[in-house]
């Protein structure tokens, strides 16, 4: 009896006390995973559903994603139909009421920023276009401030006991990020007005931030791989234009940009589109340094 009593007390106490609440976060893309880690620190456990070397359009609702979504308290995704092929299925099959529409457990970064390239009309003959605008919002670091604010608010709603902590983390992030933005903008001054050719239509937000001019795309239509006829047409269009770089994301085939690079005497460069898309893009801060370094190094 004497030995059982403390055990019983321990059992009751451990049952009655809420376990240290760690929010489980399912991040659709690595940049949002990194942002959640910045704001949540030790109060969150983040699962990155994809990597910087994967084409987000092509992900499947694979078993591991369903298993992770089942236990998630919060899902942070780009939205704007970037994940249209797999995310609706993952949410629906996750058997997780917290992630359903109208619940606090789902946050779209696109809902916090101003969308670019919202089409006037949509037609699949134009390729795999997104009716709510271009979803590649993370390539403009100014958008991170807006998404961070929405995210900190959401974390506080889901985990009110730590609300003050998330606000502090947001303030600290904002101050670090504002400094970094100033540094990046100074560093990027030589890129103003630079003419760029891109593999996919992934970069309007970057172009908007840095004043780049996207003068050509390797894909004939969004989502349709570069064809030799399209590349030949692009080559003749670009004659006489000083192209600074032909850029591609971490998951895109290097060959089309290298083919063009050899003919227009502009370098083909990999510009990391997210954390992990290149070794130098190790976290949210080094991501934009690596983006700028890739563009600045191309002459």
């Amino acid at each position: 009896m004497n030995t059982i009593k403390p055990l019983l007390v321990a059992a009751v106490v451990s049952f009655a006390l809420p376990a240290p609440a760690i929010l489980k976060v399912f991040a659709c893309e690595p940049e949002w995973g990194a942002l959640v880690r910045e704001l949540g620190g030790s109060k969150v456990e983040v699962y990155d559903a994809t990597t910087g070397l994967q084409d987000i359009h092509q992900i499947q609702a694979r078993p591991s994603l369903l298993a992770k979504a089942r236990s998630a308290d919060l899902m942070v995704c780009t939205g704007a139909e970037l994940e249209i092929g797999w995310l609706p299925l993952v949410r629906r099959q996750s058997a997780n009421p917290r992630l359903q529409p109208g619940q606090l457990g789902y946050l779209e970064a696109a809902s916090a920023v101003t969308m670019l390239e919202v089409p006037e009309s949509v037609d699949r003959a134009l390729g795999d276009i997104h009716p709510f605008g271009n979803p590649h919002v993370q390539t403009d670091p100014r958008n991170m401030i807006k998404v961070a604010a929405a995210l900190a608010r959401r974390l506080a709603q889901l985990d009110p006991t730590n609300a003050a902590g998330y606000q502090e983390a947001l303030a600290a992030f904002n101050s670090k990020w504002t400094q970094a933005l100033e540094r990046w903008q100074a560093k990027a001054a030589p890129l103003q007005g630079a003419k760029i050719v891109a593999h996919h239509k992934s970069w309007p937000y970057l172009a908007d931030w840095l004043g780049l001019e996207i003068v050509g795309l390797l894909e004939p239509k969004p989502g349709i791989p570069p064809s030799s006829t399209h590349l030949a047409g692009l080559l003749s269009d670009l004659q006489g234009q000083p192209v600074r770089a032909i850029i591609r994301s971490g998951y895109e085939d290097a060959r089309p940009s290298e083919w063009l690079a050899a003919r227009i005497h502009a370098p083909a460069v990999l510009v990391p589109q997210t954390v992990g898309a290149a070794p130098a893009a190790a976290d949210l801060f080094t991501l934009y340094d690596a983006m700028l370094d890739a563009l600045l190094g191309a002459k």
């Binding site: 994809t50 990597t51 070397l53 994967q54 084409d55 359009h57 092509q58 992900i59 499947q60 609702a61 694979r62 078993p63 591991s64 369903l66 298993a67 992770k68 089942r70 236990s71 139909e81 249209i84 092929g85 797999w86 609706p88 299925l89 629906r92 099959q93 996750s94 058997a95 997780n96 009421p97 359903q100 529409p101 109208g102 699949r124 390729g127 795999d128 239509k221 989502g223 349709i224 791989p225 998951y251 895109e252 085939d253």
Partner: protein, 405 residues
């Protein structure tokens, strides 16, 4: 100009507190329309044998099983309408519009609702749906890697198991994907028939386990069982490969099936855009016990039947460059049946020829929404065999389809 509607609108907006931005958006009655998509499937088939004489020796043919029509043929046009119903339910309707003998017919493939917000990992589905047994069963034909179904699906499930009923699934709260499910069905769909047990003539159970192995590999294994009762499950009259007329016959009794499935997918760094490999293998075994009713011309007669049948397929599809894939599939079936007390012989008796088939395919997908496929079958599923060439297009219109695993 009449400005009254504008004033009324402005007042309404002010009253319910919409922001000017929301008011500026187009007001339309179709904003809540469900997602609608349409799949079109067209074919050109070239066979050496007349498909009207097709039989799988040792097996009772289910409805609409066989190689399909010669020459130009239309596959099913599939209309899919889906939407969240409210915060608790999701609804889906899939109708197949097919051309039969020159006439358009609409068949209800699926019509179901599913819960979104049950606690503790449970999901309940009700209505008519494709059973979640096996790997391929829940996928619609346009999502298959080959133009026709594996022989085990043709022989055991009449292409796929679908019926009306309920399905309960439980997803375990583990990092490894672990799902258990049971279905209680009406017993109308093949291999059941006749809505036995007051319209509860079939039940299934399944378990699925899956996960990632590193960033480049994903796997899933599953086990399934089907417990079906048939009352007068009828096969239509046909001519056998030798041109001999075969009578209609009906099976009544128990049909029990077990199956195992394994799926492995590989893509470098998990990036499916450039290159990937999908490997699928399934094995099924069925035991049947009951009676056969038929008529060889001398009046109705009844015989005893017990069947022990098994089969498997293994297939691999390799995307070797963006948009292009090649695939190989091997199929096999075997039956060991005992039919007694009948005055003649049926397909069920002819269990000495083990059906086999080898298929090769190459397909090209211009975009995610269109695919052209060429397939060749060395079909030894019945004596004499057949060489089959199939040319197929599959396109998807409307709402973006889901990338099912």
């Amino acid at each position: 100009m009449d400005i009254r509607p504008h004033i009324a609108l402005a007042a309404g907006v002010a009253l319910i507190g919409f922001s000017p931005l929301a008011a500026a958006q187009t007001i339309s009655s179709n904003a809540l329309n469900p997602a609608i998509s349409l799949i079109l499937d067209g074919r050109f088939n070239s066979f050496e044998q007349d498909p009207a004489n097709y039989e799988l020796p040792g097996f009772q043919a289910g409805p609409e099983t066989g190689p399909g029509e010669q020459g130009f043929a239309l596959g099913e046009a599939e209309l899919n309408i889906s939407s969240n119903v409210d915060d608790m339910f999701y609804g889906n309707l899939v109708a197949a519009i097919a051309s039969e003998d020159g006439e358009g017919v609409i068949e209800l493939e699926e019509a179901w609702i599913q819960t979104l917000a049950l606690p503790a990992g449970f999901t309940l589905k009700a209505g008519k749906f494709f059973s979640r047994i096996g790997y391929l069963n829940e996928k619609h034909p346009h999502a298959h890697d080959f133009a026709d179904v594996p022989l085990i699906y043709r022989a055991f499930l009449a292409n796929n198991l679908k019926d009306s009923g309920v399905q309960l699934r439980w997803l375990a709260p583990t990092d490894l994907y672990l799902e258990f499910g049971v279905e209680l069905l009406s017993g109308e769909g093949f291999p059941a028939g006749g809505r036995a047990d007051k319209g509860q003539g079939m039940s299934t159970a399944f378990v699925k386990l899956g996960g990632d192995a590193g960033v480049s590999n994903t796997w899933q294994v599953g086990a399934s069982m089907v417990d079906a009762k048939a009352i007068g499950l009828t096969s239509e009259a046909y001519d056998d490969p030798a041109g001999t007329p075969q009578p209609e016959f009906a099976f009544s009794g128990d049909s029990d099936l077990v199956g195992l499935d394994v799926v492995w997918k590989w893509a470098p760094q998990g990036n499916y855009k450039q290159r990937n490999v999908v490997f699928v293998a399934e094995w099924m075994r069925r035991s049947e016990d009951g009676t056969i009713d038929t008529d060889f011309g001398g009046g109705p007669e009844t015989g005893a039947y017990s069947g022990d049948q098994s089969g498997w397929y293994a297939q691999a599809a390799w995307q070797f460059m963006p948009r292009w894939r090649v695939g190989l599939r091997l199929d096999a079936l075997a039956a060991d049946n005992t039919v007694s007390g009948l005055s003649g012989s049926l397909a069920l008796d002819r269990d000495t020829h083990d059906p086999q088939r080898t298929s090769l395919m190459v397909d090209f997908s211009n975009s995610e929404f269109s695919r052209l496929r060429l397939q060749f079958n060395a079909d030894d599923s019945y004596p004499g065999g057949d060489a089959q060439v199939m040319l197929q297009y599959i396109v998807s219109l409307g709402a973006h389809g889901a990338h099912q695993f």
